[in-house]
């Protein structure tokens, strides 16, 4: 990690600091900021905005933010310095991305992952159907480039980023700013974990084949097929995560209470 952090893209920055929906608020803040740190969106040593500004931007009470910062401090993801030049600073974690994402995955109940998959699939399906109706040949240059880069990417994190870009480009081809923003919001919420879905070679190959079939359906103007393929693609990725989540919880339980 470098001491100076790269500036976030505007979309990513807005997403990181945008208002949180009604969830257990402390958990939501911990997850949002923790993810950004785990993924390197907030770089080592970067100062977070002040408490009042940050709580206003996240749409939570200052006390909620403080509780979340306590948790993040316990997780070793931020450090707080008092006095002049003080504030809350990012501390980049030292364990591997896969470990961190695996730990992060354990914080999601499988029911929540299943429900998220349903919601995301609904968005992705409707978006793909509209894209099939509205995309012109040029609109598909970008997702075609992304799927090629995805197919060639070796690094799971890069695969996750390129899969995300591919879906944002499909949403943009649907000509909907709202659907595109929603797609970006989903990716901010759960997208990082999809690195875990694409780290096995066969899952990577399968996702690549799904991308190609989806673009072909959009290109041929077959909205129904595009919708079905987009929904299946989301469920495919999330099913991989749920399987890993179930393995993880089993391991955790068996470590905590070995069978006698």
């Amino acid at each position: 990690m470098t001491s100076s952090s790269p500036p976030l893209s505007s979309a990513a920055r807005r997403a990181v600091f945008s208002s949180l929906a009604a969830e257990p608020r402390v958990d939501a803040v911990v997850r949002r900021i923790g993810d950004a740190i785990v993924l390197g969106l907030l770089g080592d040593g970067e100062q977070l905005p002040g408490e009042s500004e940050l709580s206003a931007r996240l749409g939570v009470a200052t006390v909620t933010l403080r509780e979340a910062l306590v948790v993040l401090r316990q997780q070793g993801l931020v450090t707080t310095r008092r006095g002049r030049g003080g504030g809350t600073f990012v501390r980049a974690p030292e364990d591997t991305l896969d470990d961190r994402l695996g730990a992060r995955l354990l914080t999601h109940p499988t029911e929540e992952l299943r429900d998220l998959a349903d919601h995301w699939a609904a968005l992705a399906g409707a978006t793909a159907r509209l894209a099939a109706e509205r995309a012109d040949a040029h609109d598909l240059d970008a997702p075609r480039r992304s799927l090629r880069e995805f197919a060639e990417a070796e690094d799971p994190a890069a695969r996750g980023r390129l899969d995300g870009r591919f879906h944002v480009e499909i949403a943009a081809a649907a000509q909907s700013a709202r659907l595109t923003r929603e797609e970006i919001r989903f990716q901010t919420e759960i997208g990082p974990l999809l690195c875990l879905a694409f780290n096995q070679p066969e899952a990577h190959r399968e996702a690549d084949a799904q991308h190609r079939a989806l673009v072909d359906a959009v290109a041929s103007g077959d909205g129904t097929r595009a919708r079905d393929l987009a929904e299946q693609h989301v469920h495919f990725g999330l099913r991989r995560l749920i399987e890993r989540r179930l393995d993880g919880s089993w391991q955790q339980q068996s470590e905590a209470a070995p069978p006698s």
């Binding site: 390197g40 509205r134 012109d136 040949a137 480039r145 944002v168 970006i184």
Partner: protein
Amino acid sequence: MAAAVGGGTTVVGATGHQALEVAEAIGGLLETVFAAVERARAAVTALLGSGPAPATTDLTRLRRGFQKELGGLVVGLGFVAAPGLLTDVPAWLEWWQLRPDGGVQPLLLDLDPATSAYSDYTHWDWYALPRSSGRREISGPYVDYLCTDEYSLTLAAPVHSPDGTFAGVSAADVYLRHFEAVAVPALRALGRPAFLVNPRGRVVASTTAARLAGDLVRNLDGLDVHACGEIPLRLVTLPG
């Protein structure tokens, strides 16, 4: 999927004259945006001609001029450097945006390919079209998920170094809803359904719910079509 849009007949009658006037007025609106793009282009060209290869700090001299162009239809304006042009960074956008509260802010993108999937901007139409044609170009309407997350038009012109090599583009962003707010009243004055369409056949603004911004119109056969001056949009009217 749309092929290039052909067809359409230019009719000049009593209503044809009125449509032509509206088309040229709408073209004139976008010419004012292109005038800002041209002033930005001239400023960058002068900077490139004034000394050795520039660094990002040299571009700060452009800021006041860029900021002054913001307002009216222009919500973002700047210079997008060709990768490799600047001595201190691989890629750069010297880009300024109007905030909703009227203030101005720089656009700060993550251009590091190690952390961002969006670091390469050279494939976007607003960059690639002026680079390949050597002329000013309008891109969009398109969802600008790089800079604003809004449905937008971008007007851009190529910038060249003193030796004639392509150095990047100067450009301005227009939110489609802002453009619609000025174009639709003009179209309404025609008294019959009308819409504007870009060269790829995508509707830009419309007075009929049957053809909305973002829709593709595959065939203009049998419809009245008017050029918007030198602006590559066309005004299409439907029988009232």
